[in-house]
């Protein structure tokens, strides 16, 4: 099983638009949207949900006022400032550590499992898709990412697919770490701005920290050619494969408005060819074909 995870560090560089475009070029794959707290891929995929499950995350403390004696032990123990002086739990501050629950001398504190979101297995015109929605202001996004990546893998195995394309979250924290572990390659989408290059460097650090191969694609490259060259230089220095450049093309926004990817939108642009070349570079890269075998299935048969 091979998994391409698309990340960026900085938000808004074009991860989802390019993931959707790759969906038109790939074959026999499962789509996975791992940006669970601001998932957008479904807006371009219009998935028909076949299966829905609740995502049960961590638990939160709830004080039963009828049993509480107001001894103050919980307030003293809580390191997150989650309990006020009227012995009410602030659900936003509660970390779910359960220390107050275990150590309340009169067992007045309940520990209720929270429904932190939901996840889906759906059908799209490109094949199956696994996606999720984290509840608003919820925690445990990393846990949910791990869950849907596991489900994607299982689904791919069931369907006899050997490829997963995962649209990742921005940043380098919890949900990103949950997205990169065990990935075959990380496709890093950046843009030629001071923040694009700064954030890409942190993602490259993350890729090497977790020992996953990274590859870089410069989106909107024509906004600042000098910066594009600086990014490419940095990529070479860091030994990260360069996939190519995608121009700043309003066709991305226009096709997004129609709920389509750039290949479906029906406007022939040079951008399509560039995205096609980038996809070929990814799929034919040595990291994706560790034994030099491009089509593993055909080889076995």
């Amino acid at each position: 099983m091979r998994e391409i995870v698309i990340i960026s560090g900085k938000g808004g560089t074009g991860k989802t638009s390019l993931t959707a475009a790759f969906a038109s070029l790939a074959e026999n794959f499962v789509l996975c949207d791992a940006d669970v707290d601001a998932a957008d891929l479904h807006l371009l995929m219009q998935p028909a949900t076949r299966h829905r499950s609740d995502f049960m995350g961590g638990s939160k403390a709830v004080i039963n006022s009828a049993l509480c004696t107001g001894c103050g032990t919980c307030i003293e123990l809580c390191r997150f400032g989650g309990i006020n002086d009227r012995f009410q739990v602030d659900a936003i501050r509660c970390e779910g550590c359960g220390v107050c629950v275990d150590l309340c001398p009169v067992q007045a504190i309940d520990f209720q499992v929270q429904r932190c979101g939901e996840w889906f297995i759906s059908d799209t015109r490109f094949g199956p898709m696994v996606h999720a929605r984290l509840g608003i202001a919820e925690e445990n996004s990393g846990k949910l990412v791990s869950l849907i990546r596991k489900e994607s893998r299982q689904l791919a195995e069931e369907r006899g697919h050997d490829l997963i394309i995962t649209d990742g979250p921005p940043g380098i924290g919890c949900p990103v770490i949950a997205s990169v572990g065990g990935a075959t390659v990380l496709v890093i989408i950046t843009e030629p701005t001071v923040s694009g290059i700064h954030d890409m460097e942190r993602v490259v650090d993350l890729a090497s920290h977790f020992k996953v191969t990274g590859m870089v694609c410069v989106n909107k490259f024509d906004l600042n050619l000098e910066m594009t060259e600086a990014i490419e230089q940095l990529a070479r220095k860091r030994n990260v494969a360069l996939l190519g450049r995608v121009p700043f093309d309003p066709v991305f926004t226009r096709s997004m408005v129609e709920g389509k990817n750039i290949f479906e939108y029906g406007e022939q642009t040079a951008t399509q060819e560039q995205v096609r070349v980038i996809w070929k570079k990814i799929i034919r890269s040595p990291s994706m074909n560790p034994l030099g075998i491009v089509d593993f299935k055909a080889t076995i048969q």
Partner: protein, 288 residues
């Protein structure tokens, strides 16, 4: 007064709005970069950094001499950060949430605390604007404790502008909780609107007044304007798509410095926020 600049979707212009508003207002403000996973505000504010310190979170350290492998510590830990295997106690530092439960329950007092590095906090200034940013260590998963440390360094005497991370989950909440006003920066595209709805939902959980800045206001499908109208969200500023602005941004320059006509607009944006944050009617806008 604390203004948190958030968005839901990434790349809509949070940092642009936060840094330009800070530069337009000048001396009385401070800028807190709470997007600790990918801090960018310093690239545009260009502050002189005077001090950088390491930030740690406590994690348990087991004294194996005293430990009897009673398993009380692994039993209380909800995060699987401690495991007892035979007579051995294993600590997984990266899973620890620093609740201190293991230390409290250990009957042998065999647990003390050491630290796990979360990242760094830097302090600096530019033209009298105070600047603080947090920078998450690469490989560290938990950003909220570092964000809270950055927030704790705020000066209550100043107008605090917070550059928040994207998304709607715990890091964003840590950057918005307790603010007097949330300024949402969005773009009129389907992705922008979808994520804005989620972010507004998060703001409503917190019950903080909020308003919108629509960036690249002339691209996309304009549905965000109808949404704002139906939800009673005031649009405090629109920034049309302008290749010059995109290029100024790409080079790490400030709009208010390169296109001085924008300075008054950002001052005006602040005045509108001030009026909404302090008036009763403003407070009701986002607290449905």
């Amino acid at each position: 007064m604390i203004i948190s600049v958030a968005s839901g979707k990434g790349g809509t212009g949070k940092t642009t709005v936060a840094t330009n508003m800070a530069l337009a207002l000048g001396e009385k403000v401070e800028l807190l970069d709470c997007d600790v996973e990918e801090p960018n505000a310093h690239l545009f504010l260009k502050p002189q950094i005077t001090r950088t310190e390491k930030v740690e979170t406590p994690i348990p350290l087991i004294d194996l001499e005293k430990c009897t492998a009673c398993r009380k510590c692994s039993d209380i830990c909800r995060f699987n950060a401690i495991a007892v295997v035979g007579k051995k106690v294993l600590v997984f530092p990266e899973l620890c949430h620093s609740c201190g439960g293991c230390m409290v329950v250990c009957p042998e007092k065999a647990i003390v605390e050491t630290g796990r590095e979360l990242g760094t906090i830097s302090y600096g200034h530019r033209n009298g604007i105070r600047f603080i940013n947090g920078r998450l260590r690469v490989g560290e998963a938990m950003s909220p404790p570092l964000i809270r440390k950055v927030r704790a360094a705020a000066d209550p005497e100043r107008v605090t502008i917070i550059d928040a991370p994207p998304g709607t989950s715990c890091p964003v909440i840590a950057a918005m909780n307790g603010a007097d006003f949330i300024l949402m920066v969005t773009e009129p595209t389907p992705f922008g609107l979808h994520d804005l709805r989620l972010a507004v939902g998060a703001v409503r959980v917190l019950g903080i007044p909020c308003g919108l800045v629509v960036n690249r206001s002339d691209i996309g499908d304009q549905k965000v304007f109808a949404y704002a109208e139906s939800e009673g969200l005031p649009i405090l500023m629109t920034i049309p798509f302008d290749r010059r602005i995109a290029e100024i941004y790409s080079r790490g320059k400030a709009i208010v410095e390169e296109m001085p006509e924008w300075k008054e607009r950002f001052v005006d944006l602040y005045r509108k926020i001030e009026a909404l944050a302090t008036s009763r009617s403003g407070a009701s806008q986002c607290v449905k």
